[in-house]
């Protein structure tokens, strides 16, 4: 143990949510170097979609990330709509916004569950999953699937909401809001959780910005920036919500930002339901878009996700590039890992919210 040694944490390791490898050099228990290695789950997504027609890509975009599939198919449709140059009916935009926020909550809950197991508490896992089930049930009712929704369409959403959807959503939100307190009692108010997260994996604002951290991880470092407000898409500019920030830049701050975001999401969903107009939910879209390029970026639960689409006038995209937030967050992880103990690896990487499907594409 007197020498430094390299440890391969992955590709098969309980800490890695998915298939990736973290090589760390440890001196005793302290990390002195870290190198994340990805690519084990590379499916050639960007090449694959070059051989699919525009609507066929939507279910594939769903499968970029199991945790937040809705945001990915929505992002794809947003980019495609900009290529097709079409407007989405207003009701569809409201439905989409509500669904994105529901997806954000369920993604954050799944993240919390994963953090719970990483830190050794299966109670957090099961409570998180139990709360998530409420939202999955809503999505099943809406679009018929639990995780890969295939609900967004280019030019709207697949179908209108079922008759008592609004009542169900309100009921779920009323159930869920007090239950956040339960989760917080397990995490925040438990001294051991704070011991494991406070002052762990610190990163300051300048580093976070330079290394391209986005989303809750960046906001935790004291940068008040949210693409929902900064570059509004759908109807976010009509809604009233706060951007949750924290200043410490450690794991606890990242955790707090996500918990607050869930509350904000509940607020947004309620507003969407209130303001939702009547009207069509889908427009008919031409098969082939005009030539051109389009870029769309949204605030994914994990950060800024971006799609750049080049169309050559045929019914298949010429090039579709995905910017996965996690890909960049992962590349920035050595900056957070260095100097911490090896026991902190699950805490730091778990709080980053890993999803390899979108990282490797």
């Amino acid at each position: 143990m007197s020498e430094e040694m390299w440890i391969n944490m992955g590709p098969q390791h309980p800490m890695t949510h998915g298939l990736w490898n973290l090589r760390v050099r440890v001196d005793g228990e302290t990390m002195t170097a870290a190198e994340p290695i990805v690519g084990y789950l590379h499916r050639g997504w960007e090449k694959m979609v070059e051989n699919r027609t525009y609507p066929q890509i939507i279910p594939l975009a769903d499968r970029l990330c199991y945790g937040s599939s809705f945001t990915w198919s929505h992002l794809y449709c947003l980019a495609a709509e900009r290529v097709f140059n079409i407007e989405v009916p207003e009701r569809a935009q409201y439905i989409r916004t509500a669904c994105i926020e529901m997806q954000r909550i369920s993604s954050h809950l799944m993240w919390l569950a994963a953090v719970g197991t990483d830190l050794g508490s299966y109670t957090i896992l099961l409570y998180g999953m139990r709360e998530r089930e409420l939202f999955l049930d809503l999505m099943v009712e809406l679009c018929g699937a639990r995780m890969t929704y295939n609900y967004v369409r280019i030019g709207g959403v697949r179908n209108d909401t079922p008759p008592d959807f609004e009542r169900n959503v309100t009921r779920v939100l009323d159930t869920f809001e007090p239950r956040i307190r339960d989760l917080e009692a397990l995490c925040d108010e438990c001294e051991t959780f704070r011991m494991r997260t406070i002052d762990i994996g610190k990163i300051n604002a300048a580093d976070a910005m330079n290394l391209g951290l986005t989303g809750p991880s960046m906001r935790a470092s004291g940068i008040d920036l949210d693409l929902r407000r900064h570059d509004p898409y759908e109807i976010y500019d009509e809604l009233d919500f706060d951007v949750c920030t924290h200043t410490d830049g450690d794991c606890y701050a990242r955790y707090r930002v996500r918990m607050d975001e869930m509350r904000e999401s509940v607020k947004i969903i309620r507003q969407c339901l209130e303001k939702m107009p009547k009207g069509p939910t889908r427009v008919k879209v031409p098969r082939c878009p005009p030539k051109g390029t389009a870029v769309a970026r949204v605030e994914d639960p994990r950060g800024e996700s971006l799609m750049y689409m080049v169309s050559d006038g045929t019914d298949k995209p010429y090039r579709l590039k995905v910017r996965s937030p996690n890909y960049v967050n992962l590349s920035a992880s050595p900056a957070m890992l260095l100097g911490n103990k090896i026991s902190d690896v699950p805490a730091i990487m778990g709080v980053l919210d890993m999803c390899i499907g979108e990282t490797d594409r």
Binding site: R52, P55, Q56, I57, I58, P59, L60, D62, R63, I86, E87, P89, T123, R130, E133, V140, E141, C143, G144, A145, T148, N150, G155, G156, R158, N159, D160, P162, D182, E184, A185, L186, D188, E189, C190, E191, T192, R194, G222, C244, T245, H246, T247, D248, A253, R256, M259, D260, G279, P280, T281, R282, V283, K284, V285, P286, R287
Partner: protein, 250 residues
Amino acid sequence: MRIEDMRYTKADHLRATGYIFKSMKVTFKNLVRATVNRPCTILYPWEKLVYPDNYRGRPGIVLDKCIACARCVKICPNQCIEMVPIETPELGKVKRPQINVARCMMCGYCAEECPTNAMMVTPEFELAAYNRADMMFDPIKLQHPHKPGYEVNYSFALISEMKGGAAKTYAKNDPEMHDTIVLDGVKCISCQRCAKTCPTGSIEMAETGELNPKTKKPIKWPKFDNAKCVVCEQCVEVCPKDALSIKEVL
């Protein structure tokens, strides 16, 4: 951009109080609740979640309704649908879709595209089998009892009308509003392949009134019955001279 001094205030009420006693309280409450009532989990093989009708399990088909338009084959992102010939006493020799469920990703596109709602989503999701051959669902095996909720229906609006301010919606495959096939008469060689291939019989070879200068026979061009057409594009694909094309209604 501005830089402000900000104390994080939102969760100041969440100071760690009593070390671990709050989390112990929460778990104990749950213990009592889960012991007195039932836990929130279900015993899977014996109990199952109740799913709504629109739950997307494997695709199912009603053979009588299917018209073999092969729109499902075209839309399938995984290319797991194939039209195969079958023979049944009621239908005779027909082509119907066969689905490789092992490759299917349950996106529900086939049901959404189906113009007659013959293909539908079924809530059947327990599809494990011992070998791959069992996962190949031929049309007979693919049949499923029909229920109105299994059909995937949607309504759409037209962009041109949306811009005009009217918000009229049309049902899926509204015969008034779907795309039309147009004929480029110069290219047509009157081979009748489109009429033969049309699954709905909406193409009729009609005389144009002109005579072929060489054979002195009347020239026949396809005539489209838009009410019957389901825009399956088979005629467009089969046309040897690319005389047919789709005119989209937008």
